[in-house]
Symmetry: C2
């Protein structure tokens, strides 16, 4: 795997894929910031509000790191993010939480799947890009917070579990549908996912079995997260 | 003016006033964070969005400083903020921007008045509290940003100026009405404003002429801000 700074001229497909990866992550972090800030406004207590706001701030820090890396690569961060604005906005439009608990489940379950997915992608990039990707994917404390609050809410009123389980399934469905849209439009990024970019004379030849195994891993991790919340997947 | 750490036992009224001041500022910064994050979601470009988000993050930093100071004083930050949640929330409920430009005017004009007001109050507190208050009131870059964007919008479409001028007047009216509510409910804080707390055997004796001069200064600065936006006050 070559270092990114050495490849741009030599391998424009790899460069395009990495810029896509950084761009989609940057837009994801920026919207994570907005979403957590919005969730903060639904928080039942001032302490919860402050905690959510702190997590939003941490996401913005991740965004800033990605934006700076894009700038270092000579790319306008806005341009790199632009192709992903519509699908990510559509996802958030279609999965707008109607209350505090739905917001927590969305952040935990939705971000969890996205994080697992980007970790899969990061296996196929150069070490310096991978390091940055893994750094910005680090949990900002939201997971433990969400699990704690959701479990407490279910303990207090068991019947919310059914509604939240349904919500979790809807989140996954919408995420898949938007991910498909991105995959269809961004060839280089899709090829990167299946390790097709690093080949000389690259041809987008997807390894279907490997994609299947990746989906198994994502599904397994998702089921575990739902269980951690006390919900059936 | 005595140092706060030396007065709590000796002067409970002064301590109560300072806790109120830090509490209202902390809640103000936390809601400023939320509001700027919300404005970010209305931003017309990704670059504007990122800039607004960065300002929101700076406001959260201010909030964190105030929260930490409250904790140092042995006060639960949530308890100190609680009395101000209702009036500040009411202000924001009643002045919800309907678009990006109204959000910018609100942040510049509304925060401008609030900042001037807290600066007036800071003249009456001990040096260590004053230093913190002035630090968290520092402009996070929003003023220049708002002036630039609003002037450009008016240059492009002069008729928006009338609507925004009206909006500016409504903001001031709502701010005054909520400030009155706070003043009526928080005696120690009100007394601090007019320098009445530092007297031995303190009696809330307001200096009406001084309050009048303060309102003149606030009005003058407000008129200048509206002019900077290209709006009549």
């Amino acid at each position: 795997m070559s270092d990114l700074t050495s490849v741009p001229a030599a391998d424009p497909v790899y460069r395009a894929a990495v810029i896509d990866l950084l761009g989609v992550l940057a837009y994801g972090e920026l919207t994570a910031f907005e979403r957590l800030a919005e969730d903060a406004s639904l928080a039942p207590t001032l302490a919860d509000k402050a905690e959510l706001a702190a997590m939003a701030v941490a996401e913005f820090g991740h965004f800033a790191r990605l934006r700076d890396r894009l700038a270092e690569l000579g790319v306008d961060p806005s341009e790199a993010m632009e192709p992903f604005a519509a699908p990510l906005d559509a996802f958030h439009e279609k999965t707008r939480p109607s209350d505090w608990l739905e917001g927590l489940v969305k952040a935990y379950v939705g971000d969890g799947i996205a994080t697992d997915f980007y970790r899969e992608v990061s296996a196929h990039v150069d070490p310096s890009t991978r390091e940055l990707v893994l750094e910005v994917l680090e949990d900002t404390g939201h997971a433990a917070f969400a699990v704690d609050r959701v479990r407490a809410a279910i303990a207090e009123e068991p019947r919310v579990a059914g509604r939240l389980a349904l919500w979790g399934r809807r989140l996954v469905g919408e995420a898949l549908s938007q991910a498909q849209r991105v995959a269809a439009e961004r060839d280089a990024l899709s090829a990167l996912l299946v390790g097709g970019v690093d080949q000389p004379g690259f041809e987008p030849g997807f390894d279907l079995a490997e994609i299947g195994r990746m989906f198994d891993r994502l599904t397994e991790a998702h089921t575990q997260r739902m269980a951690a919340l006390g919900l059936s997947a």
